[in-house]
Symmetry: C2
Subunit: 367 residues, 2 copies
């Protein structure tokens, strides 16, 4: 194990061994949904309408170091910057290549991206959140197979606002207790809003707890989001031949449940990679969800932003944002590949954060 | 050099040395244009309206071994099958991974593809064939840089009907003598039609021979096609760090001229890879065009279909189709990587051709 990568759950020894001295490929899957626009659900954007711009802006920043579709980087309503800053620092320092997959984003990013035929998700309370998730899944599976030939292992992250709410809905439909356990990009986790939205969504779909435990595609179609279909398809396509580090917080639990339902044998070839801020969060419980699904290791990037000179970054230590854009998993891959430390990564994050802040100061439309 | 790869032009020794025992990535760029629908221009489709389906069907076949958007594989009006059969045989036998780029196809393929923001091309006689080719170029360049990190070298092919006519137009606008020299998918090369279309296009654009020799983007915008923008951008992005084998016939000359105008230093890191049927063609002259542009090697895949048991494949020896979907370059990469021979590849082509023919016989919509 690397000194800055710890294990929060399961036995990661053999998985991590397979990543050492290997060439990873980082894939970021983006999407948007109307669910994210329900007031109080998501902090992934200045305001709820802005959530449509957060995923494309995140991946533009990943590839270009600047955003094209918005003037600066995505921020929470409190101005805390996107974790894409961390992801970019990690992949840049460790020279990891990146591909972007559009799982269903309303706004197309101004960069090259892989299309798997997805569209933005509807409000889960409609009971028809995603059109034909199986089609997206199968197309992403074809892609996963090809990408597995190109690299020794995949790190797959996502950016979809409202993703923990749709995760809660799919987990519940699949019979996994997740109420009060999913995380949030807000320090104050709005569990009661999420639970009431999810209960309404399930009711409107004629679903009860566990009624779709063997039908993940119907769960996605009714109360999920398009990124789940693309993400799980990509993992299923790739994990047949290479290890896959699923980079994210409690949203990864829904992906895990889907993968297990589709092809349980593949579970041995996947792990979850996340941040310290997720596993130490008192208001969510990733381990409590994962343990209901499978004995999959949870790897943790020991990032420490306490001493950052920027309050926007110190806010991560107080539970703002926590994870996203595969920040934790990308950091783990960078630490394993190049022996990077939290300090090196923080320094690079601060450098680019400063650059953005300067750009914003001198030119409102610098990007 | 490999026994089945020969050199038709230039000194390929050092280039080929860099490909040996290396891991290639095959990229196929697709697009369509209204130019292809001018009667007599293209045989890349059962009829001219069908040319919109040929590129997406080609790449579906590449990835899946069957087409989704049409019932069988693309054929010429005489029923000669697409060179995608050769490309797929080569990449399958040599375990080369494939990514598809949509440079601007009217019909989206039913497989994962990389989007670089292109749209279908207009009739070049409009004088405004492609919207903002520089934008497509720059996005493809970003992609080329990422893909270069994933592989030791790139093989880039294309599928765009009417591509030799748009190539002739861009070459002429850039001051390269290509009338009577571009190849054709028809055994009888319709030079007079192409020349008259191109002359009309240039006249309507207010252009003369060589008037855009230093402005490749304006040449594409006025009389080119969207694949040229994506293709040249991808090569420019990748060739800074890895060798690039440009897989195609005389269309590659237009790409070469564009790249030379954008960044002449990169020429040292590119070669053209094509088929024997192109270099031996009495009705076109790839060497005569290349030598006007740069001393770039032309590598040739020595495929021999004379003894095929299928008349549709023997027709390649009589000048039908000749090249496309990067067939020559993919074959060269497969020969270098796995020591494959023409016979092994032909056997695989025949196997899948037979399968398609059977599928067609028993079920009109088997794909």
């Amino acid at each position: 194990m690397h000194e800055n990568v710890s294990v929060a759950y399961g036995d990661a020894t053999s998985f991590v061994k397979r990543l050492k001295e290997k060439r990873p490929l980082f894939v970021c899957i983006i999407g948007t949904s109307e669910t994210a626009k329900i007031p109080g659900i998501s902090a992934a954007g200045k305001n709820s309408e802005f959530t449509d711009y957060t995923p494309p802006a995140d991946v533009e920043f990943l590839l270009l170091g600047k955003c094209e579709c918005i003037a600066s980087v995505p921020v929470t309503p409190e101005g805390i910057p996107t974790p894409a800053l961390i992801t970019r620092a990690a992949i840049k320092l460790a020279k990891i290549s990146v591909l972007v997959v559009n799982g269903g984003s309303r706004i197309k990013p101004c960069i090259p991206f892989l299309d798997v035929g997805g569209s933005p998700g509807r409000d889960i309370r409609s009971g028809r959140a995603v059109d034909d998730p199986e089609r997206i899944f199968h197309r992403a599976k074809v892609l996963g197979k090809e990408l597995a030939k190109l690299s020794d292992y995949l790190v797959v992250g996502e950016s979809i606002p409202g993703g923990t709410t749709t995760a809660l809905a799919v987990l519940t439909a699949m019979g996994i207790e997740a109420e009060g356990k999913v995380s949030s990009s807000m320090p104050h986790n709005p569990h009661s809003i999420k639970v009431s939205i999810v209960r309404e969504a399930l009711r409107n779909s004629g679903l009860a707890f566990g009624s779709l435990s063997n039908d993940p595609f119907r769960a996605i179609a009714k109360v999920g989001d398009p990124v789940m279909a693309a993400f799980s398809g990509l993992v299923v396509g790739a994990a047949k031949s290479v290890p896959v580090l699923m980079a994210g917080g409690t949203q990864m639990c829904a992906i895990l449940a889907i993968i297990k339902a589709v092809d349980p044998k593949l579970i041995d070839n996947v792990s979850i990679g996340t941040t310290k801020w997720i596993v130490l969060d008192a208001k969510s419980d990733i381990k409590g969800i994962v343990r209901q699904i499978a004995e999959v290791p949870i790897l943790v990037a020991e990032l420490d932003f306490k001493k950052s000179r920027f309050s926007g970054l110190r806010a991560y230590e107080d539970g703002a944002v926590k994870e996203g854009v595969g920040a934790g998993g990308a950091t783990i891959a960078a630490m394993i590949k190049e022996g990077l430390t939290s300090d090196t990564i923080l320094k690079e994050v601060e450098r680019s954060y400063e650059q953005i802040t300067l750009m914003r100061k001198f030119d409102g439309k610098a990007c």
